[in-house]
Assembly symmetry: C2
Homo-oligomer: 135 residues x 2
Amino acid sequence: MSIDPRSHTPVYVQLADLLRSRIESGELPPGAPLESEARLSQEYGIGRDAVRKAISVLRFEGLVTSSRGQPTQVRPRPERRQVEVPRGSRISARMPNGHQRRQMDMDEGIPILEVHSPDGTVQAFPADEVVLTCP
Amino acid sequence: MSIDPRSHTPVYVQLADLLRSRIESGELPPGAPLESEARLSQEYGIGRDAVRKAISVLRFEGLVTSSRGQPTQVRPRPERRQVEVPRGSRISARMPNGHQRRQMDMDEGIPILEVHSPDGTVQAFPADEVVLTCP
DNA sequence: TAGCATTTGTCCGTATGTATA
DNA sequence: CTATACATACGGACAAATGCT
């Protein structure tokens, strides 16, 4: 498996596809560290910019997390608890903005599930923590 | 409203916050073009990289769309149609991966709403096009 | 405790490609 | 054809957080 710099599909997309398939196949299980950016850059003969962009793509898909001083790792998936919504609820999803995301201490790439109850109350859940059930 | 390069909050976050507030306040309505990257770079005395990163943040929040040759614009919000889900459905949300997103021709920053019906069928909707209703 | 190496984050500069008007 | 605008890709430099010695 390699990367073709002359392809019409951008280098960073090729690398993102490559890493994603490794994650989804289970070769890189949840919690496993990715190779460092410098290592990937060297290994595939591409710039660090392309590597960072590829990893950024995966972050915004919710597949990996990265923070300073630590290797980027495959995102552990939390257990999803079931939440029963009232009859007549309206349910929507959207991405949180920066403020909301930092306030709720959420990773990038995780949507918010919003439940509007008939009584007017609104509840918001990080989408990776819940499954809504319709009674 | 200005940007402080010596602040501990990154320049691109400051610019993203600034532009986001202009969008959410309605000063930049849906469909309106943002200033060009070069213009923003010059106007706030920051690098083009920081400008691009700020705009990328807003793209992944679903607030703007950008494509080659055209100014980045505030994302027009489509009408949300109501979809009634069967009783006993389980509802979850997640970000699409690159393949799915391109196949469904979705913008970046738009989650997918998944409805698992009791009969085993699964339906997926771009989250900005629908509101689910629980009967 | 202090120091060091590693890793990711931020920022800038330059160049080239590609779509649009 | 030209000018504008965004996309991709490379390079370098320094900052900040982490873990280990």
